[in-house]
Symmetry: C2
Subunit: 103 residues, 2 copies
């Protein structure tokens, strides 16, 4: 298993529009083979800060996400909505190890 | 629903010990009423960086976690294992909204 977290700082005037396109991306991403989760979070303290939580069964499935039409469309649309470049981090899973806990 | 993410930078010489105590904390935390997830992640690029992903049904359940014996014990033990103070962020959930996707 592999989990990518992505921190995104959105321009104040683009928050509503960003939510629309990230929900579209979410809807298609959870259908990908190997996807375990694609959670979209918004900071309570600063609503311009978003976090994506993308869990995949394998590194290959995670990498394949970045070649999907919905990801590529999202990336293009999101480009001018961001206040600064997004920051992604790849993680290994310490717990839970049981696959059943991820579906 | 509410999700707290916690970023933790552990001292290089304390990584193995930290993994042991955070797995202990994880094991008890997932049993709490209202807990939906308590994931423990380790950065692949920098194994001294950990991320906790704590999802709860309500703000009250999330707050109650900080009064549990396992949390208090973990906090005390973790104190001198951290390279710097940990950073917690509270988030609202944009997607998925379906409760069934969180269990």
């Amino acid at each position: 298993m592999i989990v990518a977290t992505v921190e995104i700082h959105v321009r104040e005037d683009k928050i509503d529009e960003f939510i629309k396109i990230i929900v579209d991306n979410h809807r298609e991403s959870v259908k990908e083979p190997g996807n375990l989760r694609f959670d979209v979070l918004q900071s309570i303290e600063d609503p311009s800060r978003f976090t994506l939580y993308e869990a995949y069964e394998t590194e290959e499935a995670s990498a394949a996400h970045k070649k999907t039409p919905h990801y590529l469309k999202w990336r293009e649309l999101a480009e001018n909505m961001m206040a600064k470049p997004r920051k992604g981090t790849a993680h290994r899973v310490i717990a839970p190890q049981e696959k059943s806990m991820w579906r």
